[in-house]
């Protein structure tokens, strides 16, 4: 039997969604604008998209690029961030470089990359990679810097080599921080995925969305927004679950309530 509090907690996101759709419905009925379909029209268009083989292949292609871009970025960024956090000379080398790249919107680099690598998968995956890398590097770097020195000394006294200390002490100790970076990276992967497909149309979820926009199929446009949004929410929830499991040892003991509940 669930307590009322737990029930509320479970139901809250669903209620929020229903509330949002209701506001949408009322607003679109009130505005009576062609380019603003009602929530019901948009939701009705979802099965059409997901039932269409072509669209499904497009969405899968997007997800594949996103997975590869995200995966490679994480695999490269974590070691780099950790090395930067533990070695002053490596940090001194990469820091200025990253400082320059950091504020540049990665999609703004697309024209150049397209010029060099074409409009195919490689370009789009590379942009996703760039978008994900920076937050992951930054958080790994901060996490590695904050590792307590005495912990590393304890490891050294037990006979761990510098490389072993990096993998077996710095990595786990910085894991909570690293995963915070990965979570930001995941959301950014979704954003850059759609943006890249908007710039270089050819395939993908972003392609469906913007093609529909060009052809004035506004219910499809809004249905795609719902699909992409749902994908984001689902991936984030999945990641959050894995993260909570991996760093259970570091979660704070007592919740500091931010609300008055």
């Amino acid at each position: 039997m669930m307590t009322p509090a737990a029930l509320t907690k479970r139901a809250a996101p669903v209620l929020a969604c229903i509330g949002l759709l209701a506001v949408w419905q009322v607003a679109s009925l009130a505005l009576k604008n062609d380019s603003f379909p009602t929530a019901i029209e948009a939701v009705r268009a979802i099965p059409d998209i997901l039932g269409d083989k072509e669209s499904l292949l497009n969405i899968l292609a997007s997800l594949r690029r996103m997975a590869i871009g995200f995966g490679v970025a994480v695999l490269v960024s974590i070691p780099l961030g950790l090395l930067m956090g533990r070695s002053r000379s490596i940090a001194a080398f990469f820091n200025p470089l990253l400082m320059v790249i950091y504020p540049v919107p990665k999609a703004a680099l697309m024209p150049i990359i397209m010029l060099w690598l074409g409009v195919g998968d490689v370009t789009k995956t590379l942009v996703i990679f760039l978008g994900v890398s920076l937050p992951v590097i930054y958080h790994s770097f901060e996490g590695a810097k904050a590792v307590e020195e005495k912990m590393l000394w304890s490891g050294a006294a037990m006979g761990l080599s510098p490389a072993q200390r990096l993998v077996r002490i710095v990595l786990p100790a910085a894991l909570p921080e690293i995963l915070t970076g990965c979570r930001t990276g995941l959301v950014l992967a979704l954003i850059t995925m759609i943006t890249s497909e908007m710039i270089a149309r050819q395939s993908g979820a972003g392609n469906i969305l913007f093609n529909a926009l060009d052809m004035g199929q506004y219910d499809t446009v809004f249905a795609m927004i719902i699909i992409v949004g749902a994908m984001g929410i689902f991936l984030d929830a999945l990641f959050e679950r894995a993260r909570a499991r991996l760093v259970r040892w570091s979660e704070p003991q007592f919740d500091m309530p931010l609300s008055f509940s």
């Binding site: 307590e148 005495k150 912990m151 000394w153 304890s154 050294a156 006294a157 037990m158 006979g159 761990l160 002490i169 786990p172 100790a173 894991l175 760093v247 259970r248 040892w249 570091s250 003991q253």
Partner: protein, 324 residues
């Protein structure tokens, strides 16, 4: 060497059981496990020593060789105010193999720094430290630190922390676990094996830190106020346990403390330091019989005299030097 020591221990385990109640029994178990571990590891047979060797007192009468030599060590720190701070000035100290040496001094006199230099974690600005005649250039499993800040691995459970060293040294998982469980029991944390460090109190963390270092059998223990955060009762119990371990294994111990009682009770030698710059004021030999029993010692006028004398010396240094 190790195997022989362990053999001696297991041979004499019954003595300890009679004398020391609970903790002795835990220790006996522990030592037996060690013997098994070293047999399999080095393929040696265990040579049991004569019991007379065990009985022999280990004070200054025995010709002991120096294991650690600290030779004119100074340490200068660059502070944030861009001023040089002389934390240790011209420290020379020789520590004999198997000796229990305490370092006593006011806060900030460089006790921890001296320990870090012996541990190889910090290299001195000038002078050098040696272990068994070789210059100390870095940390190694022959010197086991117990830090003031505990420095437990927060992603490992209590058992995982204690097993870490033996596993790193190549002890098989089952053996490492059995040894570690016995050690955890000895430091009074039975039942907490699967707790994470964040779920422990300060005193409990300190006990895990002690067990974690003892688990990989360093020849020299470098202990930085290891009992500082404990309540009086646990403190006394762990002091006794440490003495029992020490009397059996004859590990060399370098022990930093604020407490004059503790230093006199445990040590063969008390090194008194003074502050700004950190210097050795005096080295006092504590000539009290072993094995020491706390209740007997507290009544011993010689013990009382050591404590009073050392406390008086501190008061004098406070009056002489600039007081902080």
């Amino acid at each position: 060497m190790k195997a022989r020591q362990n053999g001696r221990g297991s041979n004499d385990a019954p003595h300890v059981c009679e004398g020391d109640g609970l903790s002795g029994r835990f220790l006996a178990k522990l030592v037996l496990l060690n013997v098994r571990a070293s047999e399999t590891r080095y393929g040696m047979t265990v040579v049991a020593a004569r019991s007379s060797e065990w009985m022999r007192p280990v004070t200054s009468q025995e010709p002991a060789s120096a294991i650690i030599e600290i030779d004119r060590v100074s340490q200068v720190f660059q502070t944030s105010a861009r001023k040089d701070h002389l934390a240790l000035s011209d420290i020379s100290l020789t520590i004999e193999e198997g000796a229990f040496v305490s370092i006593l001094g006011p806060s900030g006199c460089g006790k921890s720094t001296l320990l870090y230099i012996v541990g190889g974690f910090v290299s001195p600005t000038s002078g050098m430290a040696k272990i068994k005649g070789h210059a100390i250039t870095g940390p190694g499993p022959d010197r086991g630190p117990v830090f003031q800040e505990f420095a437990l691995f927060p992603w490992k459970t209590v058992l995982g922390n204690v097993m870490y060293g033996p596993r790193q040294q190549g002890v098989r998982a089952a053996e490492a676990e059995a040894q570690s469980r016995a050690l955890i029991e000895m430091v009074g944390l039975k039942g907490f094996e699967s707790f994470y460090p964040k779920e422990l109190s300060g005193g409990m963390k300190q006990r895990v830190a002690l067990a974690r270092t003892l688990a990989y059998h360093p020849e020299v223990l470098l202990m930085d106020e290891p009992f500082g955060a404990l309540d009086a009762h646990t403190r006394t119990r762990l002091q006794n346990d440490l003495l029992t371990i020490w009397e059996r294994d004859r590990k060399t111990v370098l022990f930093v403390t604020h407490s004059v009682d503790e230093a006199v009770f445990l040590s063969d030698k008390v090194v008194m330091m003074s502050k700004s710059p950190g210097r050795i004021r005096q080295v006092i030999d504590i000539d009290l019989p072993r094995p020491r029993r706390r209740n007997e010692l507290l009544l011993d006028p010689r013990y009382q005299k050591y404590v009073v004398d050392i406390e008086r010396m501190f008061d004098e240094s406070d009056e002489a030097g600039p007081v902080s």
